[in-house]
Symmetry: C2
Subunit: 191 residues, 2 copies
Amino acid sequence: MKQLQDAILKYGNAVNEHVLKVDAFLNHQIDPTLMNEMAIDIIEHFKHKEIDKVVTIESSGIAPALMVAYQLNVPLVFFKKSTSSILNGECYQSHVHSFTKNIDYILTASHDYIHADEKILFVDDFLANGEAALGAADIIKQANASMVGIAIIIEKSFQPGRERLVTEGYDVYSLARIKKMAAKHIEFIND
Amino acid sequence: MKQLQDAILKYGNAVNEHVLKVDAFLNHQIDPTLMNEMAIDIIEHFKHKEIDKVVTIESSGIAPALMVAYQLNVPLVFFKKSTSSILNGECYQSHVHSFTKNIDYILTASHDYIHADEKILFVDDFLANGEAALGAADIIKQANASMVGIAIIIEKSFQPGRERLVTEGYDVYSLARIKKMAAKHIEFIND
């Protein structure tokens, strides 16, 4: 998506080969108009799929996912990141290791908001190793719902996330795919 | 705001005199249409004010705040909750004690996204003791910006938050004001 690539080139900060900071429009400050344009693009890609619910992960997924859910007129559920397991039996949980931040967390969702047979579109800000998306997929499986698609704002295509998700059979759509990075240098894959 | 009061009565869970769970439409699952309606109401209230930027706090403030920022066509900045101080000198920080959750955190915002003289509308999901809003106000003061208004989705009017903010001179607008609660019972203040 050209507007997003332009925003990444103009406002993104490629710190090194692995770290891209987009605090200017996605991860700290948010450009609502860009969120809306991205949502239009995501919905166009998945227009042939039936979608009952949008799911994302707090915090940075919420803004783009909300715009998608608003336009589709379906609820949004954001999965929470917890540092410890919750033992009350009312939550789905999945262990996630973030290679990017080198932290572990428990992805958590209440039984009340993911139901059997729901068709879910997962939206997230970054795809690198795919751990977060696979954790979300695990929760959706636990609920006997189905993940009909995965929409990613920025994919680090030089990391194995996409391949892992595609191997699992998921339909992955990324708005910007980064082929390689270095300090102050970003190259995209243009399909 | 009637639609919000209706949603609170229908989907909210008053656990006891102090705890109201609105995970069904705000804090875990989000109703995007309601977020949009709430944003329209907030903007109507503050229509005579100049607003350069919307600020909120992660995670549950992001959805309503994004809809406000989108309609006003201004950026949204979400302040982050950190468990420890960041010592790199690039962030504004303010210590917040949450009486509701009985935890302390450091509210954090980069110098890059709050600027001197900006006119800021603060939007948050709950107002109880006012600690979070006062923390946000502290950061906005540190940046020499000004907080032109505070929009709250649900105010627990039986707690001192509103009074503390009004005493400090802030224009506080709450979409739903809860006079008192008990298990399964909620009474509103209707202005």
